[in-house]
Amino acid sequence: MSKLALTTEGDTHVVVTRRFEAPPEAVYRAHLDPDLLRQWCLGPDGWTMPVCINEGRPGGKMRYEWSNGRGGFYLTGEILELDPPHRIVHVERMHMPEPTPDNRVVTTFVADGTGTLMTMRMSLPDQETRKAMLATGMERGMEASYARLERLSGWTVAS
């Protein structure tokens, strides 16, 4: 089961869980190594990451820049805690170009058979930030008209 689960926790947080068919060491490294991050941390198709800095140590800086050829935005952050290969705590903000409020993200990696169960807990951005993020074009390819039932079912499992 590798399907992504995304749930809201109260009105302030989003929790994402996902299983990977690789040991925690590999999944953990893929979250810190710029050469690896640039290959997967791209969001929707059509975006690249021309700049990817992740110093990979507590207190280290992060800077990710994304481009879709016409424009882009970037993220800056700092790593707060590392407990290899089980836990990464960092803070990040988007610049669009105004910085969004700091988002503290806790990502954990737990061995699950031959794979890894990853859990990422982060702040739910406020409405203004969500609108700004939607306006970056990250929603490219999204259809506005999702079946209402499907959306509400999403909420139902998000308990």
Binding site: T8, E21, C41, P44, R130, M142, A144, L149, R151, A158
Partner: protein
């Protein structure tokens, strides 16, 4: 456009599992309060309170039909938040599909030197 105050009400309304089940039921179509209350083992005043919270949050609308007050979903009530969560889900889904491929490649490289 939602104000942050009305958004707070939306979140508070959605935070309760009973109210989310009511919304799911209403996604199938209009229903009276009695019909909606049937699956729940809670008192009528408590159920009416859930309906009131949903209505005040702008998630459902009620109309008068004799003594009945049928409820239905308010159009577009959840769209902004839904849209954001959907965008996040889509972006992460693509990210992790690419990460799956990357991890598979690494495993393969380790296994056939």
């Amino acid at each position: 456009m939602q104000t942050s105050q009305s958004l707070d009400r939306t979140f508070a309304a959605l935070a309760d599992p009973t109210r989310r089940r009511i919304l799911t039921q209403l996604a199938l179509g209009e229903a009276t309060v009695n019909e909606l209350a049937r699956p729940f083992a809670i008192s009528q005043p408590a159920f009416s309170r859930h309906i009131r919270v949903l209505s005040q949050a702008g998630l459902i609308v009620q109309r008068a039909e004799g003594t009945k007050r049928p409820c239905r979903l308010a159009p577009g009530a959840l769209s902004e938040l839904d849209q954001f969560l959907h965008m996040l889900r889509e972006a992460l889904t693509r990210n992790y599909q690419r990460l799956d491929q990357l991890l598979a490649k690494q495993t393969k490289r380790r296994n056939d030197p």
